[in-house]
């Protein structure tokens, strides 16, 4: 069975791509396919997953894919240090990023760039459909294009077929380069260290004494709660930082301490600190829980807050 695991954000079309891939594969009467998404009650912009399974016999296993032949990241910021855990031996991981990777198992494709050029919007899903048409044996250019014609609204056909063709060409190019590099020497891709454990909020040092939910490194064992319906209030186990493509950046010199950003932040991710200005108060941003909505920058009348792309901010 060929298993494909799609990582994306709500709204990027991961499930659409998973379905189109299955549809393309099952155009051949000898193949069966299954596609389904997995997401919690989270919202637009939140990380979600989708799965495609393809086989020559009917597929009975409807459970989520934990190890895949192809793992696809529609958003490069979702790539975790332990990404290879989800990869079968010989599998390939495709990532939407403009930065090249040293690891031969990681194929970087600037899908946002390509989609923006051809569709006018950074919707990366069909780029990866094209990449798979080149990389996977069970689909090819014709079947992927036919799936687009059958399952997408007519007005999207032409542009997305163009996307697929360009993506195939991109991957062909990358494969040539990859073979040359593989011949030059073997890569020493070591598994990264396990994700570090979080023990407290970034801000707790600032607003000590504030009553608020705390972040814990350990997830409570469900069996420990089997005999109660009551759970600890304010118990956080996950940060929301992965939702963000832009982040607020504070220019402390321009901040007057009016605190409008603090007041209107829907997530409470902005907190008060002492400031050098006349008011004696300024703010700091809890980037562990900021979703990058930009309400704070819109609320700031003094241009002390601006939104910067996450990719640039990381380098700074």
């Amino acid at each position: 069975m060929i298993e494909v695991l799609w990582h994306g954000r709500g709204g990027q079309g991961a499930f659409t791509a998973a379905r189109l891939l299955g549809a393309a594969a099952s155009l051949d009467d000898k193949r069966y396919a299954l596609a389904f998404p997995s997401f919690g009650p989270e919202r637009r912009g939140a990380p979600m997953r989708a799965f495609t399974k393809i086989d020559t016999v009917q597929i009975g296993d409807r459970s989520a894919v934990s190890k895949a032949d192809f793992v696809i990241y529609l958003d490069g910021t979702l790539l975790a240090p332990d990404w290879e855990r989800e990869l079968k031996p010989g599998g390939i991981c495709l990532v939407n990023t403009a930065d090249a990777s040293d690891d031969p198992r990681l194929l970087a494709i600037d899908a946002d760039g390509l989609a923006t050029e051809l569709l006018g919007r950074p919707i990366p899903n069909t780029v990866f459909l094209g990449a798979l048409a080149q990389l996977a044996d069970c689909v090819d250019r014709e079947s992927v294009e036919e799936a687009i014609r059958q399952y997408m609204p007519a007005k999207l056909h032409e542009a997305n077929i163009k996307v697929v063709e360009r993506a195939i060409a991109l991957v062909q190019q990358a494969e040539v380069v990859g073979h040359e590099e593989a011949a030059a020497g073997e890569s020493a891709g070591q598994p990264g260290a396990a994700a570090e454990t979080v023990t407290g909020l970034h801000r707790s040092a600032h607003s000590s004494g504030a009553h608020m939910p705390q972040l814990f490194a350990t997830v409570p064992e469900p069996s420990a709660y089997a005999d109660t319906t009551c759970y600890a209030a304010g118990y956080l186990t996950q940060v929301n930082a992965g939702w963000r493509n832009v982040r607020p950046v504070l220019n402390a010199d321009a901040c007057t301490g009016c605190l409008q950003c603090y007041l209107y932040c829907p997530d409470g991710a902005i907190f008060k600190v002492s400031g050098q200005n006349k008011a004696g108060v300024s703010v700091d941003i809890d980037l562990d829980f900021c979703k990058g909505c930009g309400v704070c920058a819109a609320a700031c009348k003094f241009d002390a807050l601006s939104m910067a792309p996450e990719t640039n901010a990381k380098e700074a």
């Binding site: 919690g40 009650p41 989270e42 919202r43 637009r44 912009g45 939140a46 607003s207 004494g209 504030a210 009553h211 608020m212 939910p213 972040l215 997830v219 409570p220 759970y231 600890a232 209030a233 304010g234 118990y235 956080l236 186990t237 996950q238 940060v239 929301n240 939702w243 963000r244 009016c258 605190l259 409008q260 603090y262 007041l263 209107y264 932040c265 829907p266 997530d267 409470g268 907190f271 008060k272 108060v281 829980f289 979703k291 990058g292 909505c293 930009g294 309400v295 920058a297 819109a298 609320a299 939104m307």
Partner: protein, 306 residues
Amino acid sequence: MALNAKTLPDDEFFFGHKACAGCGGSLAVRAALKVLDPNAVAALPAGCMSAVGFNFPQLSFANNAMITPFAATASVLTGIEAGLRAQGIKPDDCTVVGFAGDGGTADIGLQALSGAIDRNDDVLYICYDNEAYMNTGIQKSSLTPFGAKTTTTPAGRNAHGCLTQKKNVFEIVAAHGIPYAATASVGYLPDFLRKLERARDIRGTRFIHVIAPCPTGWGCPEADMVDVARDIVDCGLWYLAEYEGPQLSGVPGGQFKLSRNPREFASVEAYLRRQGRFRALTNDEIAQVEAGRDAKWEQIRRDWTA
């Protein structure tokens, strides 16, 4: 003491939740819990705020909070308040507060709300109104305004969105003779904070109806959420008002008060056109919305200003 950004406590009782970026409802809940004391007990029916606040093991309320059956927000509030009192464990500064959406209030929970007001139970009911069933993917509720596109009132060749008018929940609640009711908007937080403080300090049933834009369902940029919540007040399609029942105001039948009486309205057309959900409206329909606004304000100004 009037609460503002400087005097609001640093505590965050609704934090780490999974609401969409730029969610108006989560801002309403965050602001309300900051005003109420840590001893506030919250109850939430099915809706966005319960879906995003209780993601076991991620529990985003720092105070006591629980999920209620959809129709039973007000009944559960009644039960919590009575239970705490019967056990002798209700602190003096304990507000029993409910946060229900527009559907959970005006459609599904209206009967329970009416019952609680009838019994005058000591609870605070907050309706955060994002004008549709956003949690399940944008279906029309009875608080969806005329012309708004939802998945159950799609814009087509003949109809351009919701065909019905927004139900007047504030006046329905006031007609019960409730001790205190108010309308608010997350775009005017100081006004909302003041009303929360008032409601906190009044005994008996209190009701606040707060407009909370949903960028996902309204089709506007996330960063514009607060501005849209201001715009709806400025253009006159929402009003900021208070109602004090006979026991509080001493006036038979109670008394309405406008918190904000704009001398001039901002453009209704600009407010509607900035949102994707009103995209299909014709100029005639916009004129109709504007005429409806003028008629409503004529009545408000006649009856509510002393």
